[in-house]
């Protein structure tokens, strides 16, 4: 393979990896504070993309307004789901997981009933479709945009978790729920905050993902959601740097498989699942070897 083609793949890999990393943050933050695999995260992603599209195509709202509105809606939805489904089930592990499955299933099917399962074009700024040429290397603007936004989001998240009271409370809760309650942290508030952050990342991820692959249907969230989840597990679910690295590696790996082993392209979903299973079996803490609360008895 010549260098130019490789660089082309590399750029794509960086972009896809950043997308997976962004979405993976949503899983890992929730898992960190409540030990819940939020199966509905991919659907928050889908709702954000769908509502943006709907606002623009149905009501003619400017994209710059439709997306923030959709984001607000998804944040509200996440808070509502947390309050009405996850909180009542918080003490029951399997039930809360079934709750998450049913929320995910419900949102998918609700959108099928309301909007049919036909894929619709996603409105995105025209500039994102352009390609900058550096000699023979084509650099799609959307990829620069994705990486730029991802860096901003991650920096923001890092500052938030490291230096604000809420961030400290989140870290405390993920270490030890009971003791942090004794220290005067209200877990429900912190968990709600984690859901806000996770929905925010889902919405931003959705906007960028759908700008790159510009169609939405009620199942749009399923595949990126699963991939991001696998990324989160790879890095060590519950750890923010873990999600970043895991999501990035998975996205990059997916593109590199296409680049170096084109024959395996149709097997890449299988490969991601195999990676997921191997990690869970042999290194459940992921690359960063995160130890979760439940392990210490």
């Amino acid at each position: 393979m010549d260098l130019e083609l490789f660089l082309q793949f590399l750029i794509n890999g960086i972009a896809l990896g950043s997308l997976y990393a962004l979405i993976a943050i949503g899983y890992t933050i929730i898992y960190g504070v409540v030990q819940l695999i939020n199966f509905a995260h991919g659907e928050f992603f889908m709702v954000a993309a769908f509502m943006t599209m709907w606002g623009v195509s149905q009501y003619g709202i400017q994209l710059g307004l439709a997306f923030p509105l959709a984001t607000l809606l998804v944040v509200g939805l996440a808070l509502f789901v947390d309050r009405s489904v996850y909180r009542p089930l918080r003490e029951q592990k399997t039930s809360s997981f079934i709750g998450a499955i049913s929320v995910s299933f419900l949102l998918q099917n609700l959108f099928v009933v309301l909007f049919t399962s036909r894929a619709k074009p996603f409105p995105h700024p025209a500039i994102l479709d352009e390609v900058i040429n550096f000699g023979t290397i084509a650099l799609p603007v959307v990829n620069i945009f994705i990486v730029g936004v991802a860096i901003v989001m991650f920096t923001g998240l890092f500052l938030l978790v490291q230096y604000t009271d809420m961030g400290r409370a989140m870290r405390a809760i993920s270490k030890d729920m009971e003791v942090s309650q004794l220290m005067g942290i209200n877990p429900n508030r912190v968990i709600a905050f984690a859901f806000i952050i996770s929905a925010l990342f889902a919405a931003v991820g959705a906007f960028m993902y759908c700008s790159k692959f510009p169609y939405v249907d009620p199942f749009t969230g399923a595949i990126p959601g699963l991939k991001a989840f696998i990324g989160a597990v790879m890095g060590g679910i519950g750890s923010i740097p873990g999600a970043l690295v895991g999501g990035f590696l998975l996205g990059m790996g997916e593109i590199m498989i296409v680049a170096f082993f084109p024959d395996l392209t149709s097997f890449r979903d299988i490969i991601s699942y195999v990676i997921l299973i191997l990690f869970l079996l042999f290194r459940p803490g992921g690359i960063f070897n995160v130890r979760m609360r439940e392990e210490k008895v």
Partner: protein, 354 residues
């Protein structure tokens, strides 16, 4: 426990014989649509009961049902499809020589489907059942999806995403109902054996179970492989009744459907599972008619595709939030309970062991 067959077991045998006789008569005299619904009911019973054994009784939450059913479905379809019918399905490539000329009778094909599903179940369960909680369910979910994706990517065996058409309907109500009854009876025997008590012990408290000498891992694997076998059989019958198989049938949605039925029935109750499977099948048919476009009073009603799944996901959510005991909780139907009803004694506490 008892060596002599009791009056209750005679009653069970008689009831079983009556049900089979009704199934036999129904096959030829009922409307094909009704027969199809009854077939689906019986298949769902098999699927739900095997889910109850693993989750309800042993306490291991797995999501591998769809993948295991796919193994049975594809085995049975490929072995029972006549060679020339295979050629009709396989348009883009020639079927693998291993299966191209195979034409088996139904029973050995079904059994092989069950055995293969049990083997795959063992392959999944052996590593996965060492894990707990979240890890276990994610690994089984992943395995189930891998099976489906492999089916798509092995076109010389499975005809890929297009699936197989024209699977001959060799089974019938007697098969599906018989399969369901066999599953219920054998699972019930297992639950009430010393193994079953060990399984419940594993569910209630793994550490205590280990302390009294229950080999956790062996028992979990036993329950999982036992249930996988029946899931494979159910998958095979499913393919028979549908007449077509394709990988899309075995998406996680199938597992969720089984899970919904099991929770509706009361996750620990076989009786509840049987009832819930029936309710689910009927409700599904009723809602199907709402989904389809039709004319109502001259008004062109467009139909609401997706409504069925929506209704079931709402039901699952409501059950898990407000009615986790489902219809039956942990209670089972038993002859003693029925008798106490008829004698109009002070009603005994419902349930007990069947």
């Amino acid at each position: 426990m008892k060596n002599l067959p009791s009056r209750n077991s005679y009653l069970t045998v008689v009831l079983g014989a009556i049900i089979l006789l009704v199934a036999y008569i129904a096959e030829s005299s009922f409307d094909p649509y009704i027969v199809r619904i009854l077939n689906m009911w019986a298949i769902y019973v098999t699927l739900v009961v095997s889910f109850v054994l693993v989750y309800g009784v042993t306490g291991q939450f797995t999501l591998a049902h769809a993948g295991l059913a796919a193994i049975g479905a594809y085995t049975v379809s490929l072995l029972t499809l006549p060679p020339d019918a295979k050629m009709v399905s396989f348009l883009l490539q020639t079927p693998h020589p291993l299966i191209a000329d195979a034409q088996w009778p139904l029973l050995p094909a079904l059994l092989l489907g069950g055995v293969l599903a049990a083997l795959v179940g063992f392959t999944i369960g052996a590593p996965a059942l060492r894990l707990h909680g979240d890890y276990l369910l994610i690994v089984t979910f992943g395995f189930s999806e891998i099976i489906r994706l492999v089916l798509i990517n092995l076109p010389s065996f499975t005809n890929g995403a297009m699936g197989l058409k024209g699977v001959p309907y060799l089974s019938g109500l007697v098969w599906t109902v018989g399969g369901a009854m066999l599953t219920v009876i054998l699972t019930n025997r297992l639950i009430n054996s010393s193994y079953g008590r060990a399984l419940k012990c594993v569910r209630e408290d793994e550490i205590a179970a280990e302390a009294v000498g229950v080999n956790l891992y062996r028992h979990k694997t036993l329950a999982f492989v036992f249930s996988s076998f029946f899931v494979g059989i159910a998958g095979g019958l499913y393919a028979q009744v549908l007449g077509t198989v394709d990988p899309n049938t075995f998406r996680p949605a199938l597992t969720y459907a089984v899970m919904t039925m099991a929770i509706l029935g009361g996750i620990r109750s076989l009786t509840g599972g049987v009832l819930a499977a029936g309710i689910y099948t009927m409700a599904s048919e009723l809602l199907r008619s709402v989904e389809e476009p039709r004319m109502i009073f001259g008004y062109d009603f467009p139909g609401l595709p997706g409504l069925r799944q929506l209704a079931f996901s709402v039901m699952l959510l409501l059950l898990i939030l407000f009615a986790q005991r489902g219809l039956m909780g942990g209670n089972e139907f038993s002859w003693d309970w029925l008798r106490s009803r008829f004698k109009r004694k002070a009603p005994k506490k419902e349930g007990g062991e069947a």
